[in-house]
């Protein structure tokens, strides 16, 4: 295509379009300034907990929205991240002087209750913080890599992949609940106290962790945006729409899918680790089928194609859940079920879709009316 006016070269593919910068600023403003100003320590901690779920939703936008791979087992990776973090915190909390009333001092209390007298080998490395932090990122990625490679190489996708990831979530839950002596069973790993000597149960610690969490979230959004903008992101989109054509063009479709799945897993694991730090425990109820599929609805409500939408969707659904289940616990499940159906039937692109079809055209029209010349580039960019 030849340009008629070569002098005004517009960057056709900027890192973020103007409207996206506005969305980012809005999100940062709300998370970093508005919410901490408005909410008390307890509510802010609650929002922090919700934000950890939005890491999962963000991963789902990449893997489901862009890549077309619906994973119903993201709870597995959220749980892995959370459990690995909890193992470190639990070991620190079970020092010999803290646990001297046990028959074997120095091991986590639930192991003592289950007549285990020695720390199992896979718990031993988790006395080291650097090892734990690396494990939080590497173990879920490796796990996702194995699953992804095995399945995408054989061209398993769509509903089959969804069912198999769901089965994996079921397996991991049954395993954690069954192996009580090694995992804490159905109660999970509780009574976590300090992170490298720093008490994480105080209000000030909660506050700091909230901001660390929010910062990590913004970093993940920017990373996801970079992926979306890169050639890789375009291949993901192309693959979702016409997989065969991408394959016939010579791309290794399986590798790209595996990458998207691994990235989603790492995001989920970061969320899980931050969840453990802020909430102070981890249990199998965040691993299984039900939480995994609920996390999908966060991404669906926010808009499966929108990175920012994922965060808003998570906050909105969880806010509704807390509000309704506090006052009308009976109605909440009807509401959640209805939400699943409504989003799928009427708003397949979620909040972001509603914004894009109803709000944005009006906004840009107004901007256009104000200053006609630059607004052309703006409206073009905001498409």
């Amino acid at each position: 295509m030849t340009r008629s006016t070569p002098k005004t070269i517009v960057n056709d593919n900027p890192f973020m379009k103007p409207m996206e910068w506005v969305s980012l600023a809005l999100l940062v403003g709300v998370i970093f300034i508005l919410l901490p100003m408005l909410l008390d320590a307890f509510r802010l901690n609650l929002v922090g907990k919700y934000l950890t779920y939005s890491f999962v939703a963000l991963g789902l936008v990449i893997c489901w929205g862009f890549g077309g791979i619906l994973s119903l087992g993201q709870g597995v990776f959220f749980g892995l991240g959370g459990y690995l973090m909890a193992m470190y915190l639990k070991l620190e909390a079970s020092s010999v002087e803290n646990t001297k009333i046990q028959s074997t001092p120095g091991i986590p209390d639930f192991m003592d209750w289950n007549q285990i007298t020695e720390l199992p080998w896979f718990w031993k490395p988790f006395t080291s913080l650097p090892f734990t932090l690396i494990a939080v990122l590497v173990v879920p990625a490796f796990f996702a890599f194995v699953i992804g490679t095995a399945m995408f190489r054989r061209r398993v996708g769509g509903t089959y992949f969804a069912i198999i990831t769901q089965a994996i979530a079921a397996i991991l839950t049954i395993l954690i609940v069954g192996q009580q002596g090694y995992t804490g069973g159905i109660n999970g790993i509780t009574d976590l106290r300090t992170l490298h000597g720093w008490d994480i149960r105080t209000d000030s610690a909660h506050n700091i962790l909230y901001f660390v969490n929010a910062g990590l979230l913004v970093a993940c959004i920017l990373f996801a945006q970079a992926v979306k903008k890169s050639k890789l992101g375009r291949i993901l989109l192309a693959m979702r729409d016409k997989e065969d054509r991408v394959r016939f063009s010579g791309y290794q479709v399986a590798s790209f899918k595996t990458f998207a799945f691994c990235l989603a897993a790492v995001f989920a694991a970061i969320g899980g680790a931050m969840f453990t730090l802020q909430v102070g425990f981890m249990s199998p109820s965040f691993v299984g089928i039900v939480p995994s599929i609920e996390m999908v609805i966060y991404a669906a409500v926010g808009g499966r194609l929108s990175l920012f939408g994922a965060v808003w969707g998570t906050l909105l659904v969880n806010w509704a859940k807390t509000t309704f289940s506090e006052s009308f616990p009976e109605l909440w499940l009807f509401g959640l079920g209805g939400l699943f159906i409504l989003v799928v039937l009427a708003f397949p692109n979620g909040l972001a879709g509603i914004y894009r079809t109803y709000v944005e055209p009006r906004l840009t029209r107004r901007v256009k009316a104000l200053e006609p010349a630059p607004a052309v580039a703006l409206s073009h960019a905001a498409e």
């Binding site: 619906l70 119903l72 095995a150 399945m151 054989r154 061209r155 398993v156 769509g158 509903t159 089959y160 969804a162 069912i163 198999i164 769901q166 089965a167 994996i168 079921a170 397996i171 049954i174 395993l175 609940v177 069954g178 192996q179 089928i289 599929i293 999908v296 609805i297 669906a300 009976e330 499940l333 009807f334 959640l336 079920g337 209805g338 939400l339 699943f340 159906i341 989003v343 799928v344 039937l345 397949p348």
Partner: protein
């Protein structure tokens, strides 16, 4: 793990566990049949299938109460009426759901998964509001209680045999319907080539609706049979849904024989392992084996060649 048992004991254990596995197999087959028909034909994943099953179970529970208080004379035979009602109730609800929800989503199979999950949440809460959160059990008529002593170490419960007989009947019925009737021929035509089936004058929408209703109705019968071996609660259906999906996928979609073979192998493995290991370990090992095999052979055990 075999050391403590004599050879005769082991034989008896395998026979008894095998039989326990057969009861599990029957419930699995009934559930998976409905799911396989729906998944095979329409590619729709019905996450609410467990709730359709529980609807059948609650219908049986209501029937049992009704006959006990109002018509005690007919109580010994109530089960057959309950089963028919369970089939009709689940089937009718299934057709309603297909009309209101599923038919809008045929182009987006992953979205039906989410929508039917939402439906399952709504149904669960509805059961909880109507029947209460506690599990309920049905009163069995006297001729179904007790067991048959085969040898001095092996005994077989009568209700288990009854469930197996029902399963056999239903399976044969479905096979006849699918392979010997006009409706079955239409269903198979739609599976193989939807556009062509429509072109020769088959009302594909009607076939879809009836098939969905049939699948859900069979789930209702599964629920009815389920009440004889377990108690029913609002969330009992969810416990079985993953297993059932794995059975359908493992057997190969759209293959009745595959569904039966995979239900058999999964239930037998699980119940035999359960005796020697803890229940959760047995379950984990079985599911892991199935997932592992599926990763190596994603098309399942038996496949139907379909032009796509």
């Amino acid at each position: 793990m075999f050391g403590d048992y004599s050879l005769g004991d082991l034989g008896a254990i395998f026979a008894m566990q095998g039989f326990a596995g057969l009861i599990l197999f029957s419930v699995y087959v009934l559930m998976a049949l409905g799911l396989a028909i729906i998944f095979g034909q329409m590619g729709v994943i019905n996450m609410a299938h467990g709730e359709f099953m529980i609807l059948g179970a609650y219908m049986t529970y209501l029937c049992s109460n009704f006959f006990q208080t109002q018509l005690p004379a007919l109580f010994p035979a109530y089960f057959f009426i309950a089963m028919a009602l369970a089939f009709l109730a689940s089937g009718a609800l299934g057709m309603l759901v297909e009309w209101a929800l599923i038919r809008h989503l045929y182009k987006r199979p992953l979205d039906t998964l989410l929508a039917t999950w939402g439906l399952s949440l709504i149904l669960q809460q509805a059961y909880r509001s109507i029947f209460g959160a506690r599990e309920v059990g049905v009163e069995l008529p006297s001729w179904l209680i007790g067991s048959v002593q085969v040898t001095d170490t092996i005994e077989i419960p009568i209700n288990g045999m009854f469930v197996m007989a029902i399963t056999t009947l239903i399976t044969v019925g479905v096979a006849l319907l699918m392979y010997r009737s006009r409706f079955g021929a239409q269903v198979r035509a739609v599976v193989q080539n939807r556009a062509m089936a429509g072109a020769v004058g088959i009302d594909t929408e009607r076939v879809d609706r009836l098939t969905f209703g049939l699948g859900c109705g069979i789930a209702g019968i599964a629920g009815s049979a389920f009440t004889m071996v377990g108690s029913t609660g609002p969330t009992s259906g969810q416990l079985y849904i993953v297993d059932t999906f794995l059975i359908v996928v493992f057997g190969g979609a759209a293959s009745l024989l595959g569904t039966i073979a995979s239900a058999f192998s999964i239930s037998q493995t699980q119940s035999t392992l359960e005796f020697f290991l803890s229940g959760s370990t047995a379950k984990v090992l079985t599911l892991l084996a199935v997932v592992g095999i599926l990763m190596l052979r994603p098309q399942g055990l038996f496949t139907l060649k379909v032009r796509r």
